[in-house]
Amino acid sequence: MQREEKQLEASLDALLSQVADLKNSLGSFIYKLENEYDRLTWPSVLDSFALLSGQLNTLNKVLKHEKTPLFRNQVIIPLVLSPDRDEDLMRQTEGRVPVFSHEVVPDHLRTKPDPEVEEQEKQLTTDAARIGADVAQKQIQSLNKMCSNLLEKISKEERESESGGLRPNKQTFNPADTNALVAAVAFGKGLSNWRPSGSSGPGQPGQPGAGTILAGASGLQQVQMAGAPSQQQPMLSGVQMAQAGQTGKMPSGIKTNIKSASMHPYQR
């Protein structure tokens, strides 16, 4: 008995909190609709609806919870009705119900639905009974089919738009271009002044023996003029001057001079 009482109390508390949440969100939604109707956007309304539906869902879950006793089996009987103000009641209902009197009780403790609602429900049940079981089944099936078709269409659209958005994004870079650019920056591949390494061959004839320094220089000159763009000219005169300087300075060490001249650093 005690366990049931405790369960009842616990479930009542849970229910109370859920209902309070629901009331708050309803209140804020109504406020939004009344005061901000000119600024309201459809997504914002959808959000409020989603919130309400979520809360109703949790309320349902609480009611269906196995630990909740069947409230249907509980009966609320008013014990004392008085036309005086009741402070406790005021506090608990946040000022909405000041008096627990015979006007208030039928509304608050009602278990039957409103007469209009009761009428409508009776109408609907007679209609449903009138149609007959097979027709009802067919109607149910067609409704299900239409819903599933709609769902499929929506999900297909979503998937297609996603993948369509992905495809152009994939080609934001080209690996071949990456390689070409890196090669250009690293060693000048593809830039106009790039010459293949085979051009170091013509430099060989520039290695003279003894006493043929000038001949070697002229040979070098020929080689350079053959393949070089105009930038090589200033360097060429530098080569000639350096070699003339060497031979003029040390006539005794001709051999060493020749060696350094033959293996000069300007050789290609």
Partner: protein, 208 residues
């Protein structure tokens, strides 16, 4: 003779070996705008910076098989800025855990007679190009998005032609040797650019 990897060499001679950590990728012209927007959001808040540079690469062929390469860069749109001379070593390969390309780097600001000086030293210009693009920074990371233009008439920077329909995207950090956690930060940043650009370490030797 193989030089030992620069990251193992001690600090000597009063200068610290600076390493450049590099990740490269590219983006097609039509996606440039979205990349720029994303970079503006990700990077430090500053005025978008554009640059127009002319870079010349000089080679010195000595007795060794591989020539010595120096890169000289000058700004075409900022008058009075110093020229920039840069040496980049061979990339250090082999460490799979390192997510970026690492190479030794020496940067020097010079005066305007740099090309004459290099010519007198015996360097010969190998190739040149014009780079035009945008520059972003995030902390110590530098992100450059630029288009490479081929120079049609040597020496004339007005007659240029774009090399490809893409912009090159480079994420680089210049840091003292030995700080490998830098490459982790770079990789995390590169992840944020992922579907637009794939920044990765590209070995230039593979593209020869």
């Amino acid at each position: 003779m193989e030089a030992p990897p620069v990251t193992m060499m001690p600090v000597t001679g009063g200068t610290i070996n600076m390493m450049e950590y590099l990740l490269q990728g590219s983006v097609l012209d039509h996606s440039l705008e979205s990349l720029i927007h994303r970079l503006r959001g990700l990077c430090d808040n500053m005025e978008p910076e554009t640059f127009l540079d002319h870079e010349m690469v000089f080679l010195l062929k000595g007795q060794q098989a591989s020539p010595f390469v120096l890169r000289a860069r000058r700004s075409m749109d900022r008058g009075g800025a110093p020229w920039h001379l840069r040496y980049l070593g061979q990339p250090e390969m082999g460490d799979k855990n390192r997510h970026a390309l690492v190479r030794n780097c020496v940067d020097i600001a010079t005066s305007e007679n740099l090309t004459d000086f290099l010519m007198e030293m015996g360097f010969r210009m190998d190739h040149e190009f014009v780079a035009k693009g945008h520059l972003f920074r995030k902390g110590i990371m530098k992100i450059m998005v630029y288009k490479i233009f081929r120079i049609l008439v040597p020496g004339n920077t007005d007659s240029t032609e774009a090399l490809s329909l893409s912009y090159l995207v480079e994420l680089s950090v210049v840091a003292p040797a030995g700080q490998d956690m830098v490459s982790d930060d770079m990789r995390n940043f590169a992840e944020q650019l992922k579907p637009l650009v794939h920044l990765e370490k590209i070995d230039p030797k593979r593209l020869m």
